[in-house]
Amino acid sequence: AQTVTQSQPEMSVQEAETVTLSCTYDTSESDYYLFWYKQPPSRQMILVIRQEAYKQQNATENRFSVNFQKAAKSFSLKISDSQLGDAAMYFCAYRLQGRGSNYKLTFGKGTLLTVNP
């Protein structure tokens, strides 16, 4: 079974600074997706960024980028120029690609990010 581990229950960053959130995962599959979701107090899970495992290039979305290390099964999220609106719970998630349970998301326990003005 796939597992996702987020070892940082809480992180804080000063506004305009950079912060990195860590995630490791365990899978025996070679084709899969990795995601970072943001969950503000409204509870809605919002997709921040997605990485396909077959792509060597790290995904970027504006101020958000990932460091994907497939061999190490590591998938960290870097937030640059942090803004107050970035404060939220962040969840790392895994989904199989191809045949099988390619619809089921497996989430980590989350990291609570605080942004200090």
Partner: protein, 113 residues
């Protein structure tokens, strides 16, 4: 609709009671999912619908939990004889097909007292 809608937003019920949680997915999305998020945890998969049928209900914790999607659109998660351990946020998501991006609703916070 513009997004996934879940009602009610919050529900408080007494132990032993029956509850229904509703999810209205994005129009045209054939796949629908329910997840449960306990306090301090990430969401955990409960059930996946493709159209009207439950294609995978392996995440339902026991036979007190049941979900339906009779017309392939709105889904209802039903919990019988609620227990305090059922208290959690129940999230619904939908996607165009099974392996495309899932969009989440704002969840229903269920509190069993």
């Amino acid at each position: 609709g513009a997004g996934v809608s879940q009602t009610p937003s919050n529900k408080v019920t007494e132990k032993g009671k029956y509850v229904e949680l509703r999810c209205d997915p994005i129009s045209g999305h054939t796949a629908l999912y329910w997840y449960r998020q306990s306090l301090g945890q990430g969401p955990e998969f409960l059930i996946y619908f493709q159209g009207t049928g439950a294609a995978d209900d392996s995440g339902l914790p026991n036979d007190r939990f049941f979900a339906v999607r009779p017309e392939g659109s709105v889904s209802t998660l039903k919990i019988q004889r609620t227990e305090r351990g059922d208290s959690a946020v129940y999230l619904c998501a939908s996607s165009i097909t099974r392996n495309t991006e899932a969009f989440f609703g704002q969840g229903t916070r269920l509190t069993v007292v």
